[in-house]
């Protein structure tokens, strides 16, 4: 065996290999993305990026039905999208082991909410595993496959940002060969796998029985649930990353460490509760364990002293226990230090679109991706951002309400390429079907940019790196009934605005596709950096672009040639024609006239 440092995500990938997974699927989403990327790099388990989490899970369910072990990874909100197959797969059970990895994001490092997906495992009545470090992340995948098959249940492996993105040592067998675990001899099983009401009623009984068996298993399986007896005046029930903070803060305390957190091992909890003077529950986000422990007639202290919002850390756990701060540090520098907030990159194709929208007095429903940054100053041209794909449906709904109120402001939906494929297409079907007339801007940067540039069905490349058929957005829009589909260059402000105005004027739905490859994918300069040819009078017009290559703190525009990509948006805006880009004379001439 060798010890290697792995992130939780890398360890999950290793677990899939060691556990004999035949297949893994995912839709990218922080903090889960590196799981599938790592599995793909290993090159053993077959991998797929799916258009969305629902499809990812459905393919995994199919693999399981056919007898192969399958793992499906997504961020917490992705499980909402996959909830339909997830809840029903619970009734069908599995063929080959089936694991859904839910990567939750307490503190919302990169998410729109911090829902606690342990509730979903409980609602779906499946086994729930919570690893606390990378070693467990790997072990629980292999163990999860066994458990899934033994108890005929899908398994949710719930991790959080801190387990996903922290590294800790993992014991690996360098000589282990990859061998997919298969259940050969597939046979049709109508009563189990066809969820007609008559079958599903019987299956529900089986699900409840399974939970009882799982609970009994959890009472005795020390690899998952264990009591670490110590000082018996304080007993702490905990799971996941919170276990590490408890161990750090209270090294002497007795701890009931839970790895299988649904169904809960009630007998073990009672035994632990009876063995300590004061009982505590330390868990991130909701009082998921705490309320169930309370239902046993025990009286733990939990959310009254530990926060329900945000992520835990050693300080928050120590504070809850009334322990003095662990560190005695230097006073923070309280001067208002300049921040480094995320901004659209210099030359980003989204910038011209949001600049144009900000001038037009339109309502804009946005979506999830880098372009959500278009909602921030100085562009500030987004009214809403809810969830993946919502821009399309919300645009139509908002139009209905505005018109009813006598407000004739146009409504524009803005969506990225990967998000459009994820769940924008069905929204567009609805717009056409139900007689909407809005305009959708499809910002195609040729990648899933926000999560680190993953392929998707529109890029023409698979997760395994093979060339495939790229989704044709124009054809898709036409096929669902949008007659007005056109392309507009997001680097040509005048033409872009004209295109948007024209489509908004039309009394039918329209789609404008703005193509510009992500600057982090193709860093080749678009043209030479912009240069100032006159003494800048400092009117500030170009600053409204929010371009990181343009600094105006001296009162004049100063272009950083190392950052400027030559996109020439500022050249088009300069009312004094003082900005020039080699090769862009024509644009400047036009703006003179």
């Amino acid at each position: 065996m060798v010890k290697r440092l792995l992130t939780g995500n890398e360890a999950i990938a290793e677990g899939a290999r060691v556990g004999g997974a035949l297949f893994a699927s995912a839709y990218p989403g922080t903090p889960s993305t590196e799981i599938l990327e790592t599995i793909a790099r290993q090159g053993d388990v077959r991998v797929q990026w799916a258009p969305n989490e629902k499809v990812a899970l459905e393919v995994a369910c199919g693999v399981s039905l056919g007898g192969g072990r399958a793992l499906c990874a997504m961020k917490h909100v992705g499980v909402n999208v996959a909830a339909d197959p997830f809840f029903s797969a619970s009734y069908s059970g599995v063929g080959g082991g089936l694991i859904l990895v839910s990567a939750d994001d307490p503190a919302m490092h990169s998410s729109q909410n911090e829902q606690d997906n342990r509730h979903l495992a409980r609602a779906a009545k499946v086994a729930l595993l919570e690893p606390s470090d990378s070693q467990e992340a790997m072990d629980f995948v292999a163990l999860g496959f066994d458990l899934s098959e033994k108890f005929d249940t899908p398994v949710m492996l719930r991790v959080t940002t801190r387990t996903c993105h922290s590294m800790s040592p993992v014991e690996l067998d360098p000589h282990a060969r990859y061998e997919p675990v298969l259940r050969p001899g597939y046979e049709r099983n109508f009563r189990k796998n066809v969820l007609l009401p008559a079958n599903a009623r019987v299956r529900h009984e089986a699900v409840e029985e399974r939970l009882a068996q799982l609970e009994e298993f959890g009472n005795h399986e020390r690899a998952l649930n264990r009591i670490e007896w110590g000082d018996r005046t304080i007993g702490v029930i905990t799971s996941g990353i919170a276990y590490q903070y408890v161990r750090e803060v209270l090294p002497e305390a007795s701890v009931l460490k839970l790895g299988l957190t649904h169904p809960l091992p009630r007998q073990l909890i009672r035994e632990f509760g009876a063995g300590v003077d004061e009982l505590y529950v330390v868990e991130e986000l909701d009082p998921f364990l705490e309320e169930q422990v309370r239902a046993l007639g025990l009286h733990p202290v939990g959310k009254e002293i530990f926060p329900i919002t945000g992520e835990l850390d050693p300080d928050r756990v120590a504070r809850g226990f009334g322990i003095e701060p662990l560190g005695a540090g230097i006073e923070p520098v309280d001067a208002s230090l300049p921040l480094r907030p995320p901004v659209l990159c210099a030359g980003c194709g989204h910038r011209g679109v949001f600049y144009t929208l900000s001038r037009m007095g339109v309502a804009v429903t946005g979506d999830i991706g880098c372009y959500t940054l278009g909602s921030l100053p100085p562009l500030e041209s987004m009214d809403a951002c809810l969830c993946m794909g919502a821009s399309v449906g919300m645009a139509q709904g908002m139009e209905i309400a505005l018109r009813a109120a006598g407000d004739d402001r146009p409504v524009v939906g803005v969506i990225g390429d990967s998000t459009f494929v994820h769940s924008g297409i069905t929204g567009l079907v609805n717009t056409v079907y139900n007689g909407g007339s809005g305009t959708l801007l499809l910002l195609d940067n040729g990648t899933t940019a926000m999560t680190g540039h993953q392929e998707h069905p529109g890029t023409g490349v698979t997760a395994e790196g093979d060339a495939t058929i790229a989704l044709d957005y124009v054809a898709v829009c036409h096929a669902v009934g949008v007659r007005r589909v056109r392309e507009a260059d997001p680097y040509d402000l005048e033409a872009l605005e004209a295109a948007i105005r024209e489509e908004l004027a039309a009394d039918e739905p329209s789609v404008i596709i703005c193509r510009a490859v992500c600057r982090l994918v193709d860093r080749t300069p678009i043209a030479d950096p912009a240069e100032l040819e006159i003494e800048c009078p400092g009117c500030g017009t170009c600053f409204e672009l929010g371009c990181p290559a343009l600094d105006g703190s001296s009162g004049q525009a100063v272009i950083d040639p190392a950052v400027c990509s030559g996109c020439a948006l500022c050249v088009q805006l300069c009312p004094f024609c003082g900005l020039r880009i080699h090769g862009h004379e024509a644009v400047v001439q036009e703006s003179v006239s």
């Binding site: 010890k3 290697r4 440092l5 922080t30 490092h109 990169s110 801190r162 993105h165 922290s166 590294m167 800790s168 040592p169 990353i241 590490q244 903070y245 161990r247 750090e248 850390d313 050693p314 300080d315 120590a318 701060p325 662990l326 560190g327 005695a328 540090g329 230097i330 006073e331 923070p332 520098v333 001067a335 208002s336 230090l337 300049p338 921040l339 480094r340 907030p341 995320p342 901004v343 990159c345 100053p377 100085p378 680190g452 982090l520 500030g540 170009c542 600053f543 409204e544 929010g546 371009c547 990181p548 343009l550 600094d551 105006g552 703190s553 525009a557 950052v563």
Partner: protein, 206 residues
């Protein structure tokens, strides 16, 4: 033999593209190779887009939390001065600041840059008893590659961490990066080590 009685807490910071994560990775790998238990954490959500980057490494006989408690860092390694100021309170009162003298002005927002602090070095020196500043960028430039500034800083860190022998550092660097960068990284590491030995007093550990 330099054994640790309690975990060594190293807080690292810088700006996206700086190579902060590479430094923290080498520290973590070297500590593991030396036989320590290790935890390493990072926040890198928007790092590609010029944001602040933070990584934490803890190693010792037994480590639990991947996060360092506030005010419990033994050493703050900063690859940029403003980021050193921003995270100064991560340090213990008797902790050591090891900072690259480089200044990176934050990208202007809407054309406006918030003024860079006047005297970041002075503020650091006022608050931290042991503050070591290195011209890591200049040293890396002399070696022919600005991007190696992070390895200069790693070399300086190694002087403050005698619990990990020099050979372990060199072996870790050799395996952590692509072979064509090996010579440069080793040279940058050596240069940083030399400067730190000279400026900080040989072998001084917290």
């Amino acid at each position: 033999m330099n054994d640790l009685e309690r975990p060594r807490n190293v807080f690292l910071t810088g700006v996206g593209g700086h190579g902060v994560l590479a430094v923290s990775r080498v520290i973590a790998e070297a500590a593991l190779a030396r036989g320590f238990d290790v935890r390493r954490s990072e926040v890198h959500g928007m790092s590609q887009r010029g944001g602040s980057v933070v990584s934490q490494v803890r190693y010792g006989p037994r480590v639990h939390s991947p996060l360092i408690a506030r005010g419990a860092a033994d050493i703050l390694v900063s690859l940029e001065l403003l980021e050193a100021l921003r995270h100064l309170h991560a340090l213990r009162r008797d902790g050591i600041l090891l900072a690259n003298e480089q200044r990176i002005t934050p990208a202007p927002i809407g054309g406006l840059t918030v003024a860079y602090p006047d005297d970041p070095r002075g503020v650091c020196e006022q608050r931290v008893d042991r503050a070591i500043f290195l011209p890591a960028l200049d040293i890396a430039r002399e070696l022919g590659e600005e991007k190696a500034a992070n390895m200069v800083m790693l070399g300086a860190y190694s002087v403050l961490a005698p619990e990990i022998p020099e050979a372990t550092w060199l072996e870790t660097i050799a395996t952590a990066f692509r072979p064509r960068f090996r010579e440069l990284n080793v040279a940058a590491f050596g240069a940083g080590r030399e400067v730190a030995l000279r400026s900080a007093g040989a072998g001084a550990a917290p």
